[in-house]
C-alpha cells in the first residue's frame, strides 16, 4: 500500500500557505545551479514552472512532443481566468472564490489546496499583465471582468475568446526568455515514454525523438509532469488530437497513485456530433452563457420546426426554470445533465436529436448585433465555419462533450506524488477541482501551480537531496526503462494486424461515453469492464501500424497513446463502480435525490480514491485519502 501523506499544514485555513512557505526548506542560490529539474509539458503549468524554476537558478530541461512549446492545448481555452481581485466591487474575496470552487467541486477537493489556489489567483493576474498579456479593458484603462458558471460575482479576466492563448503565449514568452538566457534547455518533438525511479525516487525519464525515432535517457534531481488531462480516452472530446495520458499513465505503472480517474468534465456547450468520421468536438465558450439563453421546445413534436417559428410560450428555458438563482450560469456538470435529461425526453433538437438551443435573440435586442459581435464575434465565426449556420439569425445548437479531467496523479500539498521527487502540476494532477471544475478555473490552476506553488515546494524536496548527486544515465534503472520503451514499440510494430488505430479508439470511446459518461450505473460499468479488456485484446492482435521505429511515424505515436487509453479506461470504470455515490460529474443513477440531483454519501466517500498499480494483469489497490473539512461545512450543493 502506498503511503498517502497529504502534508497539509496545521493552523487556520487562511494562514496555512503563508505558514508553510515560512517553514519549508530553502535551497541556497549557489546550490540551485547544481540541481537539474526535468519538466515534461509546456502548457500553462509546464512553461510557467520551467521559466520560474530557471529564473530561480535551477538547471531546467523541458520536454514537449509538439514542434514548439507554444502549441500546448492550454492555448485553446477560450473564456477566461478567475481571480479574487474584487475590481468590480461586487463582494468578491479570496474566501468566496475558495468557497465557490470547493462547492463547485461538490466537496471532493482538498480544502487547503483550493484555498491556496484562491490566494495566489490575484498574483497570476499581476504577473500576466506585467508580461504584456492584452486582457480586455474598460475605457478608463482598467481591467474588465465577466461572470462565469457557478459564481454570482464577476471575477473572470479575459482576452476576447482567446484567454488561454494569451496566457499561454505569456508563459511561453517567459520560457523563451529563459531558453535564450540558457536557463532552460528545450527539447521539442520529444515524447516522454517512461519514468525512471532510482532508490524509490523519480530521477529521470526516457524520451523518444519523434523525428528520428531515437530513444534517449535523461537524469535529473526531480521530475515535474505537466502533461495535461486524459479526456481523449473518449476519442471524441474538445482536447487537441494529440493530447494523451501516456506520461502520467507510465508514471502510474512505475508506482505513482492515480486519483479519482472517473472524474471527467462533460462541458455543456459544444457543437453537436455530426458523423462517424469526426475527429474532435469544438467547444463554444461558457462565456456565451452570460448572454445566451438555453432552451428546447416544450413539446417533442416541435423539435424539427424552425426554432424561430416556435413561439415564446412553447419554449422551455429549462436551466432558468430548474435553477432560477443561477439560471444559464449553473455549473457545468448540472447544465450538462439537464441537457441530457431534456434530450432523453425526446425534446432534443437538430438532426440527431442530441442538441439544445443557445439563443442570442434577447441579447441582440438588448445589445444590438454589433454589441454581441464585439463580445463573442470569434465564437460565432467558429460556429459558422463548422456548421455553416449564422447564429446571429438562428440559435446555436449545442450538446455536452468531454472537456477536462479532474482526476489525475495523486499529489500532496507540495504537489509531489507518492513517488518522492515526482511532481505533478495542472490538469495532470487531481488536487483542486474535486468532482467538477468551475469555468475559468483551469487556467488559474495551471498558472498557480507553475508560477507560485512549485517554485517554493520543490525546494523542500531538493534540500533533502545532496547537490549534484543525481544518478548517471548508465544506471541499471535507466537501462531497464529504456528496454521497456523499446519493447513496447517493438510489440506495437510487431502486431501487423488489419485494422487502423482509429477503429479501436472509436470503439473504446463509444463504450466509455455510453457507460462512464454523463450518467453511470453499476450494471453498465460492469458491462464496460468486460468490453474494454476485449477491445484491448483485439487491439494487440489486430492493429495495423505501418512504418518503422527509427523515423517520424505518426501511426506509431498514436498507437502508443491509444494502447495506454485502453488500460486507463478500465481504471476509470473501476473507480466509477467503486464510488457508489453521486457527486459532481459522477452521477450514479442509483443515488439521486427526489429532485433528480446528485445524492452524495459523505460518510463513506469523502475521500480521494488513489489507485496503485500492482503489475500487469493484477487488480490495482485502492488507497484512500480522507478529505477532512476543517473550515467549511459539507453542504448540499444548491444552485436553485
Amino acid at each position: 500500500m502506498a503511503k498517502l501523506e497529504s502534508k497539509i499544514p496545521s493552523g487556520p485555513l487562511a494562514q496555512k500557505w503563508t505558514k508553510h512557505k515560512a517553514e519549508i526548506k530553502l535551497v541556497n542560490p549557489a546550490n540551485k545551479r547544481k540541481y537539474e529539474i526535468i519538466v515534461v509539458g509546456a502548457g500553462l503549468a509546464g512553461s510557467s514552472a520551467a521559466a520560474t524554476l530557471a529564473e530561480l537558478g535551477y538547471k531546467v530541461k523541458c520536454f514537449v512532443f509538439h514542434d514548439s512549446p507554444r502549441r500546448a492545448h492550454s492555448i485553446a481555452a477560450q473564456g477566461g481566468i478567475n481571480a479574487a481581485k474584487n475590481y468590480q466591487n461586487d463582494g468578491d474575496s479570496v474566501y468566496r472564490l475558495f468557497y465557490d470552487t470547493i462547492k463547485g467541486g461538490d466537496f471532493r477537493a482538498r480544502e487547503a489546496n483550493v484555498h491556496r489556489l484562491a490566494e495566489v489567483s490575484v498574483n497570476i493576474i499581476d504577473q500576466c499583465v506585467a508580461q504584456g498579456v492584452p486582457f480586455a479593458r474598460e475605457y478608463g484603462g482598467l481591467l474588465a471582468n465577466r461572470s462565469f458558471g457557478g459564481a454570482q460575482v464577476s471575477r473572470t479576466f479575459y482576452a476576447r475568446g482567446q484567454t488561454g492563448q494569451q496566457l499561454l503565449l505569456g508563459a511561453y514568452s517567459a520560457l523563451s526568455r529563459m531558453i535564450g538566457a540558457g536557463g532552460v534547455k528545450m527539447f521539442t518533438h520529444a515524447e516522454m515514454l517512461d519514468l525512471v525511479v532510482v532508490g524509490g525516487h523519480a530521477k529521470g525519464i526516457i524520451v523518444r525523438d519523434l523525428i528520428t525515432g531515437e530513444v534517449s535517457r535523461h537524469a535529473a534531481d526531480a521530475v515535474v509532469l505537466a502533461t495535461g488531462g486524459y479526456g481523449n480516452v473518449f476519442n471524441l472530446s474538445t482536447y487537441a488530437r494529440n493530447s494523451n495520458a501516456t506520461a502520467i499513465w507510465r508514471a502510474y505503472k512505475r508506482g505513482a497513485c492515480f486519483a479519482n480517474p472517473c472524474f471527467t468534465q462533460i462541458h455543456p456547450t459544444c457543437i453537436p456530433v455530426t458523423g462517424d468520421y469526426q475527429s474532435k468536438l469544438t467547444l463554444m465558450s461558457e462565456s456565451l452563457r452570460n448572454d445566451g439563453r438555453i432552451w428546447v421546445p416544450k413539446k417533442a413534436e416541435d423539435r424539427r420546426k424552425n426554432p424561430n417559428d416556435i413561439p415564446e410560450e412553447d419554449r422551455d428555458y429549462y436551466l432558468e426554470r430548474m435553477y432560477p438563482a443561477f439560471g444559464n450560469l449553473a455549473p457545468r456538470d448540472i447544465s450538462s445533465r439537464a441537457a441530457k435529461k431534456v434530450c432523453d425526453e425526446g425534446r432534443g433538437v437538430g438532426e440527431s436529436g442530441l442538441g439544445v438551443y443557445l439563443d442570442f435573440s434577447d441579447a441582440i435586442q438588448r445589445l444590438s448585433e454589433a454589441g454581441v459581435r464585439e463580445r463573442y464575434g470569434n465564437l460565432f465565426d467558429i460556429y459558422h465555419e463548422i456548421t455553416d449556420e449564422n447564429a446571429y439569425k438562428v440559435p446555436m445548437r449545442i450538446f455536452p462533450a468531454v472537456h477536462y479531467t479532474m482526476g489525475g496523479l495523486w499529489v500532496d500539498y507540495n504537489l509531489m506524488s507518492n513517488i518522492p521527487g515526482l511532481f505533478v502540476l495542472g490538469e495532470a494532477n487531481f488536487s483542486d477541482h474535486g468532482a467538477n471544475r468551475l469555468g475559468a478555473s483551469a487556467l488559474m490552476q495551471g498558472l498557480a501551480d507553475g508560477y507560485f506553488v512549485i517554485p517554493y515546494t520543490i525546494a523542500d524536496y531538493l534540500a533533502g537531496q545532496k547537490p549534484a548527486a543525481r544518478p548517471k544515465t548508465d544506471a541499471a534503472e535507466f537501462r531497464q526503462a529504456e528496454e521497456n520503451v523499446v519493447g513496447i514499440t517493438k510489440r506495437l510494430l510487431g502486431v501487423k494486424g488489419k485494422e487502423p488505430i482509429s477503429h479501436f479508439h472509436k470503439r473504446l470511446g463509444a463504450v466509455l461515453w455510453a457507460n462512464c459518461g454523463m450518467a453511470r450505473n453499476a450494471a453498465n460499468l460492469k458491462k464496460a469492464l468486460k468490453e474494454i479488456p476485449a477491445i484491448r485484446e483485439e487491439f494487440w492482435q489486430n492493429v495495423n501500424i505501418p512504418g518503422e521505429a527509427g523515423t517520424l511515424n505518426q501511426s506509431l505515436e498514436r498507437a502508443g497513446r491509444v494502447a495506454d487509453f485502453l488500460e486507463l479506461a478500465e481504471l476509470m470504470c473501476l473507480d466509477a463502480l467503486e464510488r457508489d455515490e453521486s457527486c459532481g460529474c459522477h452521477f450514479r443513477e442509483e443515488h439521486v435525490d427526489p429532485e433528480g440531483e446528485c445524492l452524495r454519501n459523505d460518510e463513506q466517500y469523502a475521500h480521494a480514491a488513489a489507485w496503485e498499480f500492482q503489475g500487469e494483469g493484477k487488480a490495482p489497490v485502492l488507497n484512500k485519502e480522507s478529505l477532512v473539512y476543517e473550515t467549511v461545512h459539507m453542504a448540499k450543493r444548491n444552485y436553485k
Partner: protein, 261 residues
C-alpha cells in the same frame, strides 16, 4: 462526394520529394479537410501503404500546428481560417486538390507535408518577451492601459505562429510574424523599457534565420488565419528605424560595457 488529391510525398529532409495522386473514398461534405486526410490515411494503412504525414493538433484554429498549402494557398481557399477549419463542403465532386507543405528557405521539409518552424521559436528567444521575474509584478491595475491600445495589442497578439505568412510571401519573409509580436509589446506601457532592444534583437535573428525581406505585396495578411494586418509591419519598420538610430546615440552605463556620457 469524392475528390482526387495530388499530395507532396517526401521521405525526409534529404530525399527529394514528388507528387502522388490519391482518390478519396466517399466523403461527407461536413468533414474538415484534416478529417478527410484521416480517412484517406486509414485507407492507405489498410492497403499497406504509408500514411501521409501532416501536422495538426487542436483542430480548432488556435494552436498553429496545422499548415498545408491547398491549391496553391496556405491554409486553403478561405480567408481568416486555418487548414483545420477548412471544410470539404468548399470543394466540388471530382475536384483535383493539390496539397503541399509550406515552402520557404527557413522552413525545411521534415517529412511529406511537415516542415520545421523552429526558426520562429529562436526569434522569440532572441527578444520576444518582456523581462519580468515571476512574483515581481505590481498590482495589475496599477498601470492603466488605454482601451484602444489594449485592443490593438490584442489584434497583434492573436498570431498563432503557423507560418502561413512566410509560406505565402514570394520572399519567404517573416515580417508579419515578427511585427505582430513587436507591436503587441510596443503598444503596451509594460513593453516600453525593452522596446528598442527587442525590435533590434528580433529582426537580427529573423535575418539570421534566412527569412527574406518585405516588398509590400501583403500576401501575408491575405492568408493569415487571424487576419493580422500588414500595418503592423509598417509599425515595426518605424520602431526598427528609431531603435537603430537611438542605439547609436544612446549613452550606456559603464557597468554594462559603455562609457558614461
Amino acid at each position: 462526394m469524392k475528390v482526387k488529391l495530388k499530395v507532396w510525398r517526401q521521405k525526409d529532409a534529404n530525399t527529394p520529394g514528388e507528387f502522388q495522386v490519391y482518390e478519396t473514398p466517399d466523403l461527407n461534405p461536413n468533414m474538415s479537410f484534416l478529417e478527410m486526410l484521416d480517412v484517406v490515411n486509414d485507407e492507405l494503412t489498410v492497403k499497406g501503404e504509408e500514411p501521409i504525414a501532416f501536422d495538426h493538433d487542436c483542430r480548432e484554429g488556435i494552436c498553429g500546428t496545422c499548415s498545408l498549402v491547398i491549391n496553391g494557398k496556405p491554409h486553403g481557399p478561405h480567408r481568416g481560417v486555418a487548414t483545420c477549419q477548412t471544410y470539404m463542403r468548399n470543394f466540388k465532386e471530382g475536384d483535383v486538390i493539390t496539397v503541399e507543405p509550406f515552402r520557404a528557405r527557413a522552413f525545411p521539409v521534415v517529412k511529406d507535408l511537415i516542415v520545421s518552424r523552429k526558426a520562429f521559436d529562436r526569434i522569440m528567444q532572441a527578444g520576444g518577451f518582456i523581462s519580468v521575474r515571476t512574483g515581481a509584478a505590481c498590482d495589475a491595475n496599477a498601470v492603466p492601459v488605454p482601451k484602444e491600445a489594449a485592443d490593438l495589442a490584442m489584434d497583434a497578439a492573436a498570431c498563432i505562429g503557423c507560418g502561413a505568412c512566410v509560406a505565402a510571401c514570394k520572399n519567404g519573409s517573416a515580417m508579419l510574424f515578427v511585427a505582430a509580436k513587436v507591436s503587441q509589446y510596443g503598444l503596451l506601457p509594460q513593453g516600453q523599457p525593452e522596446r528598442d532592444k527587442r525590435v533590434l534583437a528580433m529582426v537580427k535573428q529573423m535575418d539570421a534565420e534566412g527569412f527574406g525581406n518585405c516588398t509590400n505585396f501583403y500576401e501575408c495578411s491575405a492568408v493569415c488565419p487571424k487576419q493580422i494586418s500588414h500595418e503592423f509591419i509598417a509599425r515595426m519598420n518605424r520602431d526598427f528605424l528609431k531603435a537603430s538610430i537611438r542605439s547609436v546615440f544612446t549613452p550606456t552605463s559603464a557597468s554594462t560595457g559603455g562609457g558614461a556620457a
